[in-house]
């Protein structure tokens, strides 16, 4: 049994008097214990909404979540709010994008780590603080004893993200969802944080769902990658398959748009033409068709199905990039 099995998850935002907007459209993917799964896509493709829906953190009003989120066989979407709250932070944790705003500015770091331990493990304050120090030490924060009593604005950005990781992993959850954990950090720190995440995930056997728009992060970390476009999974493949033979024109375009050091001098950077807003509803055809180089007539007649590929992945495309040209 998979650790996390997301089946046909849809999130529709609806406000009175406005047309409903489907942010996530029948997304399915699975996460095996200890595995690292990437959700990749550009802004607005539904990555973060997916993660919030899994965590049950979407606002109560104004949206409709359908489908199933099976965590060890239990459908999280059907749980009572109290039961879900007991699981959050203990069995499933989440790391957010901006480490400064995700920490409470008026509470010392130590108390914030201890809070989770008190909440889920029934520790008293003293013992929770002692464990917090070990946790801060484990995520590589120097002089953890002093950091315990410091406030978030007093430590650096990288250290804040480390502290957040310590908080998220405090109760040794089985699943960690990281929502663009390195976006707000500079590149040198990004590498450190990713290495740390990888190491901790390996040590504790925690499964990781990595949400990112950064293909570099995917390359270094993920076992399986789900590429999202317009709220749907368009391609799913194992990491090496994806980087070696990206089949979907969108994935292909994303990989090609990564600047390369060995490209000839003076060559223009590759870009996917158009923007995310140039899409058509999935019901009428492939949302990526207006921006696609490989577009065929079938693309505008109806949504292409997600079909298994020969290499064990899945692909939603009528006219995929052939394997020969996939590598530039």
């Amino acid at each position: 049994m998979s650790l996390l099995d997301v089946r046909d998850l849809s999130v529709v935002f609806q406000r009175r008097g406005e047309r409903p907007f489907t942010a996530v459209d029948k997304v399915s993917f699975t996460v095996e214990p200890g595995q690292t799964v990437g959700l990749v896509g550009e802004s607005g493709c539904g990555k973060s909404v997916t993660s919030l829906a899994i965590m049950g953190l979407l606002p109560k009003r104004g949206n409709k979540v359908t489908g199933e989120v099976l965590f060890e066989g239990t459908d999280l979407l059907k749980l009572r709010p109290d039961d879900m709250r007991d699981r959050r932070g203990r069995e499933i944790s989440m790391i957010f994008q901006d480490p400064l705003s995700s920490l409470n500015p008026v509470i010392p770091i130590g108390i914030q780590v201890a809070e989770v331990l008190e909440r889920h493990q029934g520790r008293d304050r003293k013992q929770a603080l002692r464990e917090s120090r070990e946790l801060l030490d484990a995520v590589g924060i120097p002089d953890p004893q002093r950091r315990l009593s410091e406030y978030p604005h007093q430590i650096s950005g990288g250290m804040r993200q480390r502290a957040l990781i310590a908080i998220a992993l405090a109760c040794k959850p089985r699943l960690l969802i990281a929502d663009e954990p390195t976006t707000a950090l500079d590149v040198t720190i990004q590498a450190q944080i990713l290495t740390l995440l990888k190491q901790l995930v390996d040590e504790t056997g925690t499964a990781l769902v990595m949400i990112t728009h950064d293909l570099g992060v995917v390359a270094g970390l993920c076992d399986t990658v789900n590429v999202l476009y317009g709220g749907k999974v368009v391609e799913r493949a194992r990491r090496h398959e994806l980087f070696a033979h990206a089949r979907h024109p969108y994935t292909h375009g994303l990989l090609n748009s990564v600047p390369r050091l060995d490209s000839p001098r003076g060559e223009r950077l590759h870009a996917i033409r158009g923007s995310v807003s140039d899409n058509i509803p999935w019901a009428e055809g492939c949302a990526f068709a207006p921006r696609c180089d490989n577009v065929v007539d079938a693309c505008l007649e109806g949504p292409p199905p997600l079909e298994p590929t020969a290499t064990g992945g899945d692909l939603r495309c009528n006219n995929p990039v052939s394997e020969e040209v996939a590598v530039r």
């Binding site: 007991d86 957010f96 705003s101 409470n104 500015p105 509470i107 010392p108």
Partner: protein, 342 residues
């Protein structure tokens, strides 16, 4: 720079971050060594302060110290509080006692003026005016502090409930505060005092407190709603923190700054309102109690043609103290405002 004002649980004094402090051995080497160590500590603190990483409170205090407006306000407030606390030591006479030397000179059209024994002369009942002024500070502080605190407590309660629950609770509570805000504050206070069967010091305090409740409630509710949307509250939710703890630990402490500043400003208003109520004869009926508003309203007004000082001094005292609190409050608001940081 070594400032004693730090919050509870504030970070330990920061030494230079990575820079080893020279000469910082644990064993003391006599008095000179101690003094040197203290000086080094101070320098280390100062240098770390320049490198950022200063707590909000310490930063605000530093900003306040540089602001002449804040210094003037703080001086006035400080003097006022000292006078109020040490009134029995400062006042030359008992403020309630009627002195024969003064009463025998009292006539319909003359009230004894300054003499060596009574620097500000007599009040219309033959009591020492200076002592009454000094004790008046005490009374004013008492009324101001209590009215502000009660108003603050009720306002925070209502605002926190409205901000924490949202939905229809929020709607009901905020419409109630709207009703209260719609009435001019003094009018509302007069109505409240008039509703009480017997007016006393406490009716004044409660009336002034309740007038200020909607202001605090609105302010807190607004910042609580903003906090509700903030990332760290979402993060706390993602960790499964209980709703009660999210409100009490994550939303409330982050929303209180604005309210605390408002409290200093409210203090000035409370003093003025209390004085106004006394002036209008709705205050404490006890004629023995020295209160600036009462002195201004009853004695000052009635005997203005005989001895205008009876009105001048209480009025001046009220104005100066209210000004002091307003200046301090404004300066605090500016100092705490994150937009002004660095």
């Amino acid at each position: 720079m070594s400032d004693p004002i730090t919050q509870a649980g504030a970070p330990a004094p920061r030494s230079g971050d990575d820079k080893p402090r020279p000469g910082m051995s644990e064993r003391s080497i006599g008095v000179l060594g101690d003094r040197k160590k203290a000086r080094l500590d101070e320098l280390a603190r100062a240098s770390s302060a320049d490198r950022g990483g200063i707590s909000l409170v310490r930063d605000a205090v530093r900003r306040l110290r540089r602001n002449p407006v804040a210094i003037v306000g703080a001086t006035i407030v400080g003097l006022f509080i000292l006078v109020a606390i040490f009134a029995p030591l400062i006042a030359p006479h008992d403020p309630v006692a009627r002195f024969d030397e003064l009463t025998k000179n009292l006539t319909v059209d003359s009230i004894p003026g300054a003499s060596s024994e009574f620097p500000l002369g007599s009040d219309p009942l033959g009591r020492d005016f200076l002592s009454r002024m000094i004790y008046g500070a005490r009374q004013t502080l008492f009324v101001g502090v209590l009215a502000t605190l009660i108003g603050l407590a009720l306002g925070v309660l209502i605002g926190a409930i409205a901000g924490a629950f949202g939905g229809w609770v929020d709607v009901v509570l905020m419409r109630l505060t709207d009703v209260m805000l719609a009435l001019p504050s003094l009018l509302l206070a007069i109505t409240l005092v008039a509703m009480a069967s017997r007016s006393s010091q406490w009716t004044v305090i409660f009336a002034v407190a309740i007038v200020n409740v909607p202001i605090f409630a609105r302010l807190l509710r607004g910042s609580m709603l903003a906090q509700r949307e903030s990332d760290h509250v979402l993060a706390a939710r993602a960790l499964g923190v209980k709703e009660r703890n999210i409100v009490l630990r994550h939303m409330l402490p982050n929303s209180l700054t604005a309210v605390i500043v408002q409290a200093t400003l409210t203090f000035a208003v409370a003093i003025l309102d209390a004085a106004a109520l006394s002036f209008l004869g709705l205050g404490d009926p006890d004629i023995n109690r020295a209160e600036w508003g009462l002195m201004l309203g009853v004695d000052g007004q009635r005997y203005f043609e005989v001895r205008p000082e009876l009105a001048y001094y209480p009025a001046l005292a009220i104005v100066v103290v209210a000004l002091g609190f307003t200046l301090l409050g404004e300066a605090m608001r500016e100092a705490i405002d994150p937009k002004n940081r660095r």
